[in-house]
Symmetry: C2
């Protein structure tokens, strides 16, 4: 049986922080990133692609705000904005990947599915929003919006990185339609799913599906999906080729192989930055703890060379 | 084998022209409409649900406009806005339908797919935009936006109905992933597809998938999908229980059964309003000409009683 991999693309695989995010920029970024998935396809992997939506859903939220202010159009809540972003980003990935496959003479169906992901309605995250979405603001702008809209802001983990809006990010534990996603992917179709971490939902006491206003971490959602569909490998593609200890300091040290015990030790010591690398590493750990063979964190462009990237496994000998 | 039906919901199944379109209103409208699909499910139909996006994509376009004006966020082109609307509307239909099924104790998967639909890049529609999207404006507002943004407007077919923005609406002729949609639906899953008529695309000379800024008529797209997946019946749900001759005049006459010859005669004579009933009837005709058994135009609430609704077939004896 072909290996099944979940590949998680950052929201910035399309919309980069240093660009305005025009459609031309987003399409070029998507095509450049997706080009690298050819290496996995040529190795015979079946693929499920997931993606973030941090920059995009932040923009959609702000467009909703501006649309009401300028044109009196009812604002949609965050859960609908997440669903919107699944449509728009999923479509861009889907269409650009079709063209990458066409260039390489690979024939595969691509299926982009709107995906809901279950969370606990009483998750602690609802009283402690941590997920950064949307634009970077100055302190003054952030304070103004905090007063005007009741939005919550946190300063960037980077020095002089400004302020960004934060929303709750509850822990995902189940993916709707997981069996269908697995079946379609194992039949050789490329499935795009849990976009933006999935639209967060829960079942109420009547078993009705209710929603909450939150953004699920796309890496955690990808790990939950990977476990649910019995994927062999999880790839989290980001903007560094490896995980580092003491990243950005003179003592920076590449961590190429990590087993569960080491990973836990590093997480406990706070080796990795919260809000950037730490949640990715927790997602990697969750995936291998759930039965996945290995998790890999690297840059998309490094997929060509399997010696690149940091690998997290349960035990070194795996 | 169970019968397969395509059921097309108007964009106004969620967002009605006489409401602001808050999330509470949209969810209630969706649930009320979807409740009626139970009659088809209890009759043993497999279902593919399609939906319009006229009001929604108009709102998304305006939010994009406002977002750039207020926050300098890059505007997304219409094709991405259509994809956004597939995500948001598809999600609302999907979630509300899960709750309707739950209420009735019916267990079925619901799969909402982002769908691209092929058009001809040289379609006449690109030089003659006719599809109404978004808000209703006064003449003065429309003229202002026409000057400021280069948008095109047409007056409403209804008396004193104001002005709405118009965009090209090219003819659809193929639906991406049609085989997968058919397979999933025939396996008993409910598939939500070609939302908003689908994201319009075409293949260029290199066989790359390119896009155009347009909104495909959701009824025509539903007919093309119906033919492509060998559906038996097409239901176009709208806000009248029947088709009428001379609608809204003292001579108004209900048309309950129409064969191909009669339908063509009526279309030629201009019996049906362009921009409202005429395109629905053309879609119905296209579906039966493509091999479909019958097309039905009615209100959602009338699905309970099969004697309701106007039926279009190739020949009366069908």
């Amino acid at each position: 049986m072909d290996k099944l991999a979940v590949v998680a693309l950052g929201g910035n695989a399309l919309l980069r922080g240093d660009e305005k995010g025009t459609i031309e920029q987003q399409e070029k970024n998507a095509a450049d990133t997706l080009e690298n998935l050819i290496f996995l396809l040529k190795d015979g992997y079946n693929l499920v692609i997931t993606h973030g939506n941090g920059p995009q859903v932040g923009n959609i939220l702000m467009r909703n705000d501006a649309g009401e202010a300028m044109y009196n159009i009812a604002q949609m809540p965050l859960n609908v904005c997440v669903a919107d972003s699944q449509g728009g980003i999923g479509y861009m990935i889907d269409r650009m990947l079709r063209n990458v496959l066409n260039k390489h003479g690979i024939e595969k169906n691509i299926i982009t599915m709107m995906t809901m992901v279950e969370v606990n309605e009483n998750d602690d995250a609802f009283s402690n929003p941590t997920k950064r979405v949307g634009k970077i603001y100055t302190k003054e702008e952030a304070e103004k919006l905090e007063n005007e809209k009741g939005w919550q802001f946190k300063s960037s983990p980077k020095k002089d990185g400004g302020y960004r809006r934060v929303v709750p990010s509850p822990v995902p534990y189940n993916v709707f339609n997981k069996d269908i996603i697995e079946k379609l992917a194992r039949e050789g179709n490329i499935v795009v799913a849990v976009g933006g971490g999935g639209v967060p939902v829960y079942h109420d006491q009547n078993n009705d599906v209710r929603t909450v206003d939150a953004v699920i971490d796309k890496d955690l959602a990808s790990a939950v999906l990977g476990t649910a569909i019995n994927a062999d490998e999880l790839y989290i593609l980001t903007d560094v080729p490896f995980i580092y200890k003491d990243f950005g300091t003179p003592e920076q040290e590449k961590l190429e192989f990590l087993d569960r015990a080491d990973t836990l030790k590093h997480l406990e010591k706070g080796t990795f930055a919260e809000g950037s690398m730490a949640p990715k590493i927790r997602a990697c750990l969750k995936f291998v703890e759930g039965g996945g063979q290995k998790s890999v964190i690297t840059e998309a462009t490094k997929l060509e060379d399997k010696s690149y990237g940091s690998k997290i496994t349960m035990n070194y000998e795996d």
